[in-house]
Every structure is written in C-alpha cells, then in structure tokens.
C-alpha cells in the first residue's frame, strides 16, 4: 500500500501529531456521563432513530392550487391566500405518547419541496436536462456534497421510495405530482426570476464562475431566504390568535386608503394587514385540524391513560387556536406550533427559538407555585421538545442541505445572558433545559450559553457537565462581546445598550438582534426576549479563502477546472505585500459580484415570496403595517459576508511569507509546481478519504517535493501563540471586518463578517487544490474560523486561545473555535472545573465562541467502519451537533483528524 502522509512525515522524523498534551489510552474510552430520558421520551426517540427523512406534496399542492387561481391578486394577498390554503389542508398526525404535538408534514421527519423558490432541480431531473443544469453554478456544489450514509438519510432509492437529493425519501406515487407542480413554477420561481435579472449585472459572469468553481458556496438570496435568526413568540402569547386577528382587522380598517405621508408604500398597509389576517386564519385551521384528530383518537382509544392524554391535547389545541395560553403546557405547545408554522412558510434553516427558558418562565413560575406542574413534568416536556426539534428537516438541494448544513436545521436555543435589568437571566427553568440536554441528548436544540461574568457558578458547572456527555453543547458564547457588536451594528437603527442585552443566537452561532417585550400573566408583568431582526442567512455566503489564494497565485485561473474565474492580475507577486494586495483585490471583485446577484435574488423573494407569518411575529410589523419586505422589522442591517478556510489561508500566507519572501528558501514557481503536482500525493477523491493524515503518495512519486513539503509544513502555523502566523490572522481580520462595510444589502445597510464554516470546509476543501501550508488537494479545510488545522496546534489549548484572540472579536458577528478533547482529560468534578476554567479564560481574553468535542478519536474511526453500531453517536461539527452517521465523509474525516487534547 502507498505510504500515507503521516508515515511520510514520520520517516522524515517530523511529528505531525494529532494528539497534544499527552497520550491517549490504547483502548476506546467512552464519555463519562450517560443519563436516560423519561420512558415516554425514550419510546418516541426510538421511533425517531428508525425514521427516514420523508417528503410529500400536500403543502405544495394546495399552495400551488390556490396561488395559480389568483394571478391578478396583489402579491402579498395572493401569497397569504396560498399559505392559508396550504396550512388548512395539512393532514394531522399524532403519535402515541406525544404530548407536544404537530409536525411539519404528515411524517415523523416530514418536509416538502417549495417549487415557488426553486423548481429547476426536479424539472431538470425529469427532462434529462441535468447536464445543462450543471452549467448553472448552484449544481456544482451538489457534486461536492455527500450526506452521511446512515441514519435517517435516504441516500438511494429503494422499494417504492425515491431518493431526492440523496437525503429525502418520497413515495413513488407522489413523484409525477411533484414534477407537474414543479413545472407550473418554471419561469415564475424566485430562482428563475432571480436568475433572469441577475444576468443584467455587468459582473454576472464573475459571479457564475465563482459558484461553478466553488469559490462561493451558495445563492443565499433564495436557497434559504430566511433563517439564522431568532423567532419571536411574544404576540401570540400575549394576545392569542383571535386577539391578533382583531388587532389586524382594526388596524387594516384604520389605514385603508390612507398613505399617512408615505407615498411609496403607505397604502400597502391595507394589503399587508389583509395578508396577516388570512395567514392567521390558516394557522388556526391547522391547529384545529390537529385538535379534531386528537378528539377522534380520544374517542377510539382503549387505553385509559392514553385516552385522557388525547383529550388533554385536544383541549390544549382548541384553546390556543384562539386564546393566549394559561399554563406552561399550553404555552409550550403554542411556541412549538408557531415554530413549525414559520418553518412551513419558507425554506428556512436556523430559525432559532432563542431564550425560551426566559420566554416560558412566567408560566413555569406560576404553575410550579400553584402546584399545577412538577419540575419532573417540566423536564419531561423539555426532553420532548428535543425530539420535536431534532425531527425538523429542511428541504433544499443536496448542495445546501448536505454541503452547507450537514442536514442540520439549527434550532439553537440560548440560555443565560442578562435580563432587561442587567442581572443574570439564568433561571430555574434554564437549569432544567440544560438537564434535558443531558438526559435526552439529541442534536436539536443545540444549546448556546450566553456567557456573562454574572452567571451563577453552579449554572456554569452544570453546563460543563452537559458538555462532558459528548453531546457537543452548550457552546460558550461571549455576552459582552456580542452586546458590543449589537450596539455597533444596530445602533444606527436605534438599538440601545439595554435592548442589546436581549440578543440571542440565531442559527448555529449568529448573534441576532432581539428586544424585550412585556408579557402579562395573571396580573404580573414579565419582560421577555424575542427576535426583532431580519434573517442573517442572506448575503455573500460562503467565500473559500484558500481558493481565493489559489486564484491569486495562478493569475485568476482555477487549477481544478482551468477556468479563468477573475481577470488576470498579471503581477509577478515579487513581494509579500504584492501578493497580499492582489489577494484582497480578487476578494473584493468577487464579493461585489456576489453582493449584487444575491441582492437581486432576495429582491425577487421579497416581492413575491415575502414572509407573512414570521413577519407578524416580529416587532414592529404589526404596529407599522409593513412586513419584512418593507422594513417592518425593527432591525434590518442583518445581511453578512461569510468566510471559510481561515486557518488554511493564514497558514498558507505564513508559509509563503517565511519560505519564499523572508528566508528565500524556495521560489514561488517551485511552490506553484508542487501544488499542481499535489506534492507527489494522490488526490483525496482517488482514495476517498479527505483527512490529511490518510493521504497517500502516488506510486510514481520520485520524492522530489518532499523537502519543500516538509519546509512548508514546518513553517509557522496559526494556533501556537506564534506572532509570525498570528499577525497574519490579525491583519486579515482587521481588513475583513472593515471591508464588509463596503458591501450593501438590498435594504441599503452595510454588511458585516460572519465567521462560521458550518460544513462548507468539507465541500470547499474538496474543490480546492493543495495549498502552500502543505494541505493536500481535495482534503477538508480546518473547521470553523479559529479552530487550528489538524495536527498543527502543538502548544496546548491556552496557546491556541492566545492565537485566536489577537484581534477584536466584537467587530464580527461571531468567530468560532472548536476543540477536541479526549474524555479522560476531563474526568470527574475536577475535570468539569478545568473545562470551565479553560472556557472562562477564553471568554476573558475576548474570545466569542468555544465549544468542545469530548470524544475518543478511536471511537470515531470505529464508527466510520461500523456505523450501524453508532446510530446515536453525536459530534460537534462546526457550530452545531449532528449524528455521526448523518454527516458526509469529508467532514467525518476532518473530525477524526482534528488534534485531540489528552490533557488541559
């Protein structure tokens, strides 16, 4: 067998160690804590574990039928009518043992396509226009995105189940209907209309080449037009759906025909309120259909306990369809319903519930005090919520769902932070939420802990205990840093420092603007937090920094496809400064091309596909009479620029600076030649492993690149508290944070950096040739934005944290640092304390985010060989947790390769 990368290095006496701070035990060490959920939860979880992601056409059928019948209607009303009809016709399904009910579609993990957003994929499949579609940028990402082969993914068609996009199963009987519905949207979908108009941009060609060559990962304007935001449950909780319809009706009548000084969109308020009423009626019908089903089941059920529960479910739904909730259970059911409702309105990933422990606290406090509910019953509901949230699937193309999201839907829940009075917001319910994350570990909701010095020590220690289960949450997020970012970004829209404290994580780790609103329950007022901003899922997403460096080195030509992506710069790159300048030039050329194209795509979305349900929930749409598309939200400066591959780009620049420009030990021409020859190694695709450690030498390799390769690998690397490399990171970050302000969203606001990789480091690495840091062709980039590249951080976690904090994290929406720790390194209460000290140290240094994978690498290797034995194994990927068996191989390989800390 050909020698692997690791062996080649060992032969040369170079330790490219993937273990740091000690040695791991020889045998696999499991995580220390293994708690059990309540029996009811266990049963439902068992169903989940056997469930395949399934899509059907019910929602798109009724939506399309109503939409097509009203082609002369005002767009917002037409959309609302379609939504109302679709919601009203969703078939209810209630599983035995459920307490929190309702599903997106008629299956446990049900979802459905939305051809009004994009229909090309299905039409191309049918008409065998797939080859033609390949020329469209967005399909290129599909080729480089592979789902995990196990779990709930339907990777291949079987029996009467047709696999769609390698992820969803659809009944064969439904496929002709899907194709016919899709064809009705040809030329009308947001994708098609956006594509028609984006071509008018003078630099459209650059944009398409960026997509085709995976310099950029996806068309954010329509693929996931909403999400990575925090939902707001306040208005239905405070007023009930009947109250909201009454309010909208009164406001509609007041503003009808009245511009109120706004000659552009003032009169639109009439139609907007009309749309709000229609959608609310649709939501009510959906809830009442479920209530009817619960009554039907109550009538036929023989088991007395289950019969009583069906009755309670029906009573709860009948009440909340009209009124504000009175109890914790009713409030919990209501927020689940709202959540699923919003997710059914649009293709959304990252609609985060936010700080629900604080939203639901009024009901919890009063019910517990009155003896209406016990803490154990609350814990059970919190565990059930994890089944509900993990069952949520998002239907989008393979490239987006697999390559970007790893099938994850980012229903992140936030705990901690400060309350409206500036005190610790952690409450008793949040302790139970954390506990449920431990007793029922499932990927959703991923938990974000908004770390503040004012949070109680036992709360933080409980959080570290949860981390030790290996579930990958909670992540520590820096409250102080986020508040600074909020004030800077949303201050111009009127955000005060007090309102900034309401922030929460939307998506995996996107700081999102929120606000405080007064909830009244039995005469008592509580200030509760909730989302008040637009999605952060739109903008320039994601830019492959190592690929941009490749283009810079090769005069604008992609070395995988040989396509000229950007105009040649024709510079010799004789100095490091010239290289850096050209890198920035290319970055700017491509960002501007993508900025405009995505603005057009999203502009089409806002004209024809605007959010109505999500809008009415967000302040201040109801009072203003304007929805999301007319700046009804309180905060609109949310669009961003996303990067991937930061550590590889920094390490590559450091290697070039050191070897070529400072020490002059090799020429740029040599390094370019070595890159093209992949340092004598096979391409990662050839051996189907994307981890650097497993790469194999070609049989015909004459070792001519070995010396240069070793030199590049031993050049300064980020993550070691080495100023040589860290200074390059600092310079990049300061430039990046400032440069983003030059790109403006369609709402006229400046963008800002978002530094998460999600799973793009797999797909983007797969499309990138070898890089000057010694990384080999096709291998996965370092995850996140501040994680070290596998095997390169040799000085321990504190050194890594020093490197990560050389720049001011409050200038960015986020930053991301993931660390892999062997379970034996944090055993016992002492281990938990050490983990807390480490996290706290990072927060105090000004780090924004840190999270840990507590897992033995040997277990991951074993799981890759025997996935059937590891159905429940969860890992932290970038900003989220996912089942091992449901993530793609390139990301699995990178997780295995990450440096494992044996001690801290």
């Amino acid at each position: 067998m050909a020698r692997t990368f690791k062996q080649v290095l060992a032969d040369a006496g170079i330790s490219m160690d993937f273990e740091a701070c000690g040695r791991a035990p020889e045998t696999i060490v499991d995580r220390e804590i293994k708690p059990e959920p309540h029996p009811r939860v266990e049963k439902l979880k068992n169903i989940f574990m056997q469930t395949l992601s399934t899509a059907n056409n019910e929602f798109p059928y009724w939506y399309t039928r109503e939409y097509m019948a009203h082609d002369s209607e005002i767009p917002v009303v037409r959309r609302a009518r379609a939504l109302k009809t679709a919601f009203s016709h969703l078939t209810p399904v209630i599983y035995p043992g459920e307490k929190l009910v309702m599903h997106k579609a008629h299956y446990f993990r049900g979802s459905f396509p939305m051809p009004w957003l994009s229909e090309g994929f299905y039409v191309a499949k049918e008409d065998e226009l797939f080859q033609d579609a390949l020329k469209r940028g967005s399909t290129s990402a599909d080729e480089h995105s592979k789902f995990g082969s196990g779990g709930g993914n339907v990777v291949k068609s079987f029996n009467k189940i047709v696999s769609i996009a390698g992820k969803f199963g659809m009944r064969q009987e439904e496929v002709p209907a899907l194709l016919k519905l899709a064809k009705m949207w040809v030329g009308k979908s947001v994708d098609d209309l956006g594509h028609k108009y984006e071509q008018k941009c003078p630099d459209y060609d650059v944009k398409e080449k960026c997509m085709r060559n995976i310099v950029c990962m996806f068309d954010s304007g329509y693929t996931l037009p909403q999400g990575r935001e925090v939902i707001n449950y306040y208005y239905p909780l405070e007023y009930g759906f009947d109250g909201l319809i009454k309010m909208a009706t009164e406001l509609r009548d007041k503003v009808a025909g009245n511009a109120d000084g706004d000659g552009m969109v003032g009169t639109n308020r009439l139609y907007n309120y009309e749309a709000v009423i229609l959608v609310l009626e649709g939501i009510q019908a959906w809830i009442l259909n479920y209530a009817k089903e619960a009554r039907r089941l109550e009538a036929i059920e023989k088991d007395a306990v289950q019969k009583k529960e069906y009755g309670e479910i029906a009573a709860c739904l009948e009440w909340i369809a009209h009124n504000p909730p009175r109890t914790f259970y009713e409030a919990f059911q209501m927020i689940e319903t709202i959540h699923l409702g919003v997710l059914n309105e649009d293709a959304i990933s990252g609609m985060s519930p936010g700080r629900i422990g604080q939203v639901l606290y009024p009901y919890f406090e009063q019910d517990v005090a009155a003896g209406r509910i016990t803490e154990d019953e609350v814990l059970e509901l919190c565990e059930l919520d994890r089944v509900v949230k993990t069952s949520i699937d998002c239907f989008a193309s393979c490239g987006v769902v697999g390559g970007v999201l790893s099938g994850n839907t980012f229903n992140t829940l936030s705990v901690g932070g400060l309350n409206a009075k500036g005190q610790s917001a952690a409450n008793r319910l949040e302790y139970l939420i954390l506990q449920a994350g431990m007793t029922n570990p499932m990927p959703q909701s991923t938990i974000a802990l908004l770390y503040d010095e004012k949070l109680p020590e036992d709360f933080l220690l409980l959080a570290t205990k949860v981390i030790k289960t290996g579930c990958g949450y909670p992540a520590f997020m820096n409250n102080e840093i986020a508040i600074k970012f909020m004030c800077a970004q949303y201050g111009p829209e009127g955000m005060t420092p007090q309102e900034a404290t309401a922030w929460a994580i939307g998506g995996c780790l996107e700081s999102s603007p929120c606000c405080w609103l007064p909830l009244h329950l039995n005469g008592k007022e509580y200030m509760i937090p909730g989302g008040a901003g637009q999605p952060t899922s739109v903008g320039i997403h994601f830019m492959s920094l190592p690929k941009i460096l490749e283009l810079t080195l090769f005069n604008g030509q992609d070395q995988r496809t040989k396509e000229q992506v950007v105009p040649p710069h024709n510079k010799s790159l004789a100095t490091y400064e010239e290289l850096w300048t050209e890198f920035k030039n290319y970055w700017e050329i491509m960002c501007h091309a993508l900025e405009k194209a995505n603005n057009i795509q999203h502009d089409i979305w806002r004209k024809n596909n605007m959010a109505v349900f999500n809008s009415l929930l967000k302040p201040d749409c109801l009072s203003k009479g304007h929805l999301i598309n007319e700046l009804g939200y309180r905060y609109n400066a949310t669009f961003n620029v996303e990067s991937a591959g930061t550590a590889n780009m920094v390490n590559s620049l450091a290697a070039l600076k050191k070897i070529v420009y400072d020490d002059k030990k090799a020429s740029l021409a040599d390094i370019k030649a070595a890159i093209l020859d992949n340092f004598g190694f096979k391409d990662a695709h050839e051996i189907n492993s994307f981890s650097i450690a497993d790469q194999q030498k070609r049989e015909d390799d004459d070792r001519k690149w070995d010396k240069l390769h070793f030199m590049l690998l031993q050049a300064p690397k980020y993550g070691n508290d080495d100023p040589y490399a860290d200074e390059i990171l600092r310079e990049w970050e300061e430039y990046f944070c400032e440069d983003c302000k030059d790109y403006k969203s369609l709402y006229g606001h400046p963008m800002y950096p978002c530094q998460i990789s999600v799973s793009t480091h797999g797909a983007m690495g797969s499309a990138c040739r070898a890089t000057p840091d010694g990384r080999l062709s096709g291998t996965t980039f370092a995850d996140a934005s501040l994680s070290a590249y596998p095997g390169t951080d040799r000085n321990g976690p504190f050194a890594l944290m020093n490197s990560a904090t050389v720049w001011d994290h409050s200038h960015s929406q986020n930053s991301q640092l993931n660390i892999k720790i062997h379970p034996s390194a944090i055993r016992g209460p002492e281990g938990a304390k050490k983990l807390l000290d480490l996290s706290r140290a990072y927060m105090r240094k000004g780090g924004f985010h840190v999270q840990y994978n507590v897992v033995d690498t040997k277990m991951l290797r074993d799981a890759q060989e025997k996935p059937q034995e590891y159905r429940e194994l969860m890992v932290r990927v970038a900003g989220f947790t996912q089942y091992w068996v449901e993530i793609g191989k390139s990301v699995q390989d990178e997780l295995i390769a990450r440096t494992e800390y044996e001690g801290i």
Partner: protein
C-alpha cells in the same frame, strides 16, 4: 377490499416506508396488507371527484380553474372539504 396499511386510518405514518399500526402498536411496512376491517383513509383516489388521466395522476373535478387543476391519487384527503366517498 384489501387495503394496504398506508391506505388505512389505523396506520400512523412514520416515514415513506413504514409506520405504526395504531391498534397493535407495532411497526409495519406501509405497503403490507392491513388486516381485514381496517378503515379506508380518505384519499383523492377514493374520491368521486378524482378523474385519473395517468398512473397516480388526474384532475380534481370540483376545481374552479379552467382547465381543471391537477390532483394525484395518493394525496390524503382528510382535510379536503369536498371529498366525496
């Protein structure tokens, strides 16, 4: 008439391939035959307004659009106000 599980009201669909038999609590294949006496689930294919034109595809006769809007036989119709058995 023998019904497939997936065409009965006693079937609780888990995914496209299988579901629970609500009466026995067991996981069953969606395409397996249901025991005799299980209740027919309203679907377009059982509705008098459904006019099939191709396998699994047809039109809904009560559609007010011209031409009549499509329907597909396998769609569940428990929420359709004008389902006619």
């Amino acid at each position: 008439m023998t019904l497939a599980y997936r065409d009965t009201r006693e079937f609780v669909p888990v995914d496209a391939d299988k579901g629970l038999d609500r009466l026995t609590g067991k996981m069953v294949q969606a395409d397996a035959n249901a025991p005799a006496g299980y209740t027919k689930l309203p679907k377009c294919k059982f509705c008098k307004n459904y006019q099939e034109e191709a396998t699994n595809m047809g039109v809904c006769a009560v559609s007010t659009m011209e031409p009549k809007f499509m329907a597909y036989g396998d769609m569940i119709a428990v929420t359709c106000e004008v389902y006619a058995d």
